[in-house]
Amino acid sequence: MSESLLQFKNVSKNYYGNSVLTGINFDVKEGEIHALIGENGAGKSTLMNILFGMPVITSTGGYEGDVLIDGKKISFKSPHEAMYAGIGMVHQEFMLIPGFSITENIKINREITTPNVVSRVLGKRLETLDMVTMNADARKALDKLDMGVDEFIMVAGLPVGHMQFVEIAREIDKTGIKILVFDEPTAVLTESEAQNLLAAVKRLAAKGIGIIFISHRLDEIVTVADRVTVLRDGELVATKEIKDTNAVEIAALMIGRKVAISRVQSETRKVSDEIMMSIRDLHVGMPGEMVKGIDLEIKKGEIVGIGGLAGQGKLGIANGVMGTYPSRGEVLFNGKRLNLDDPHATIASGIGFVSEDRKGVGLLLNESIELNIAFTAMQVGNKFLKKSGPFRFQDDAAIRRHALKMIKDLDIRCESPLQHAGALSGGNQQKVCVARALTQDPIFLFVSEPTRGIDIGAKKLILDLLLKLNEEFGMTIVMTSSELAELRSICDRIVIVCEGKVEGVLSPDASDADFGLMMSGSRVKKAEDSPKERVSHV
């Protein structure tokens, strides 16, 4: 437990002048489980990309500082070099071929072959596969993980937990594996599968393999890890021995307080007690952002924030209500039930949506600003249209008048209303999206990730705009964002979503530790696994 297997010394990385990692010192000892934790964008994946020599690092000018393995400085140019040096990764989404047997997956591109007549002439690639030895090797790797499943069955029908183990078996089958990185290994597992996995991780560490365990589940980290390192905004906040710390402290370290939150709210705004939208048991099938049963009530005149880590389902809520992804559940808006399969009717009933996917769903990039602003209102609200017999034409003059007003009101910086939306900066594109939502005269607005990819100055403008809409026009706003700080700056209450469900509701001035614990889903253990939802395979 003394020798440092892997060391990062003062490692920094910037993408085109944008600093994403600064002066990281981090080490893993032999047989140690070192947990790495941080919010999205804290720099965990960049750190791992550096370790693996991923092309995304090498093609953007490399990194500063040193990475040492066994005290020797290394600099991998490709993931394969890293693989040969004994570094393995268990991916979050599986790199398995469903139509192959477990053995074939474990041995992919490392097949054991025996020479034959043809291969002696035409080269190694025509050597015959030695399935017997391959099966035996696979068996050995599976046994190390105490996995009883037959090595020759297809991966396709396996439960998710087994697939994860096949991935691990593949890594430990590689000779001389020294360091194993687990990237959110339990994210897709059921409770009992996760327990098995953690036990396996401990066994591997006991064999002397250094383990980097990336997870946001604090309770797991506390049970399995020896040390924990917290990253925040590309900086190393702290490295602590697990026995000297606890979940609450780690959570507080993870969230931190980035900027002083200035909450300026005029006294005139009022939140009525009237419930405007009530969501019951909403399920949304948005890939990567699954919502698994949300109940939420939104009062008239409120600004509600939806927060949580990426992939936990916060983005799915607005998309589900608006009908951009298949969804199930009951949504009442002003007492009337919304048909979730019919975005047209939802928009017509007065709900606006500023999508998180600005360039995909939000804008017609190759069309003019004015058309972008007027588009939905023309389609849904029959606005800006002139009737002439059986035909309807767009009313160019009215569109121009309206666009110019919006450009002035929202301060959209552009050359003319005819400029293509794709040519604008991120902040101005976002304003066009908001302008379009406002053109529908909504009484209720969903705003998702309004400040993603926008510089600081523009962020402030967008947030001020939302606040103004709420104060002056009494618009009810549901804002979904990955940035806790901005949610805390304008929202009345913040709903934290974890694993597709509402984990809890916090006031904006709750403590950092409260937010951190809730986002990690490791608050008080209460009815954690409802057996209906979780099917155990083991």
Partner: protein
């Protein structure tokens, strides 16, 4: 765990997956029912000669399917390479076995080169390989025509008196007689080496397959692949083989109509069996495993360090060379080279035959290829008969079979897209 071994599918799903095969079996049986004029002898004579002619071409499609390239309509280019080789041999009046070997060699070189470039094209048109292969076939046809209609005679000086060359001295004739092997030509160069009666061949194949089944069963057991064996399939296949052998023996004893069936060429048969063995063996090598890895998931293969592009090019080259040889076997059996038409339909017909056998754009096996060739050609023989007996016009049946060819490809592609969409459909939970 047992349930993971054989996940049983519903009957409906099974029917849907094999719909094309089932339609063809029904159609052929229907043909026998309505048309009284077809004698068993005629039917099997036609069928066996067609099978020996076409199997090689259909088998050449398997490797690209396994390597994830889909149905390689580009075998048309291989066929053209074969015809280039045959034309050269014919021009210099080479014939017999030596002439045929020369053809195989030249065709392999030309086809390997063409296959390399088609493979490169497929890598550039990833995900659209099938449409690319179809179009590149048409493009190559243009080059082929330029070569045969213009370059020969204008760029390369040839005597106008040569029987291959058009009377005006420019270009090659529409049909070129390949000259029977007895007169020093290529016609029947393979067939005439050794021939045996149909029923004997049937008996040998049936017993050979039975022996193969048993050997494989015991081999698996001894080498520790016991899990690959399944008693039920051994019994079913073994019974089928025995039944086939029984039919052959019965025909020999009773001197039934089957004895009237045309003799079958042994060497062609051996070549086809050889190609089957080659396909099986190469899939058991590292290269074959790479084909499968790339075929199943290019991304995973790439991440694991397999050179995906190179593997795909090799697969295309092998397929093109095999198609070139297949076309040579086809033409020596036909006896005439239909210079500008012989290759055009090869891609479509071979692909259709493979699909009829139960293959899809992502799975194919030797069984699919051979079974498909048999069924597809049976349909081809029966169509005019059905047209004759139902409508009084054989030509209607011929129209119908063209419709069937394109219909089969259409259904298979439609099913493929439908299945892919079904997999990627987003649902709640």
């Amino acid at each position: 765990m047992e349930s993971l071994h054989n996940r049983s599918k519903g009957a409906g799903e099974w029917i849907l997956e094999n719909i094309v095969t089932l339609i063809f079996i029904a159609f052929t049986l229907f043909g026998f029912m309505v048309s009284s004029g077809v004698s068993v002898g005629y039917f099997f004579s036609e069928l066996s000669s067609r099978i020996f002619r076409n199997s090689f071409l259909v088998l050449s499609l398997i490797i690209p399917v396994l390597a994830g390239l889909g149905l390689n309509f580009g075998i048309v280019i291989g066929a053209m390479s074969g015809q280039v080789a045959i034309s050269i041999a014919r021009y210099f009046e080479m014939g017999g076995i030596s002439g045929l070997l020369f053809c195989f060699l030249v065709a392999a070189l030309v086809a390997a080169l063409c296959g390399y470039f088609t493979g490169k094209l497929y890598n550039k048109t990833r995900g659209q390989e099938m449409i690319a292969s179809l179009i590149v076939g048409f493009f190559a046809n243009g080059i082929y025509q330029f070569l045969f209609l213009f370059v020969v005679g204008v760029v390369i000086a040839v005597p106008a008196t040569h029987p291959m060359i058009k009377p005006d001295g420019i270009g090659i004739r529409m049909t070129v007689d390949l000259v029977p092997v007895k007169q020093g030509g290529l016609k029947y160069a393979l067939e005439n080496i050794y021939q045996i009666p149909f029923v004997h061949a049937l008996l040998i194949i049936a017993l050979g397959l039975l022996a193969l089944l048993l050997i494989r069963y015991y081999w698996n057991k001894r080498k520790g692949y016991g899990y690959r064996n399944r008693m039920s399939s051994l019994i079913v296949n073994g019974t089928l083989c025995l039944a086939l052998a029984g039919v052959a023996v019965h025909a020999m004893v009773t001197k039934s109509q089957l004895m009237m069936v045309r003799k079958v060429p042994v060497v062609t048969g051996l070549l086809i069996i050889g190609l089957c063995v080659f396909t099986v063996l190469i899939m058991k090598t590292k290269l074959g495993q790479d084909f499968r890895s790339v075929g199943q998931s290019q991304h995973t293969a790439e991440v694991s360090g397999i050179n995906v592009d190179r593997t795909r090019i090799i697969a295309t080259m092998i397929s093109t060379v095999l198609a070139a040889w297949g076309q040579i076997i086809y033409l020596q059996n036909m006896g005439t080279l239909n210079t500008y038409n012989a290759h055009t339909q090869i891609g479509m017909f071979s692909v259709a035959a493979l699909l009829v056998g139960g293959a899809s754009t992502s799975k194919a096996s030797i069984t699919h290829a051979i079974f498909g060739t048999i069924l597809f050609n049976a349909m081809f023989i029966m169509s005019p008969e059905i047209g004759q007996s139902l409508f009084g016009q054989a030509i209607l049946g011929e129209y119908f079979r063209t419709f069937m060819v394109y219909g089969v490809i259409g259904v298979a592609l439609g099913l493929h897209v439908w299945n892919t969409n079904k997999k990627s459909r987003i649902t709640v939970e």
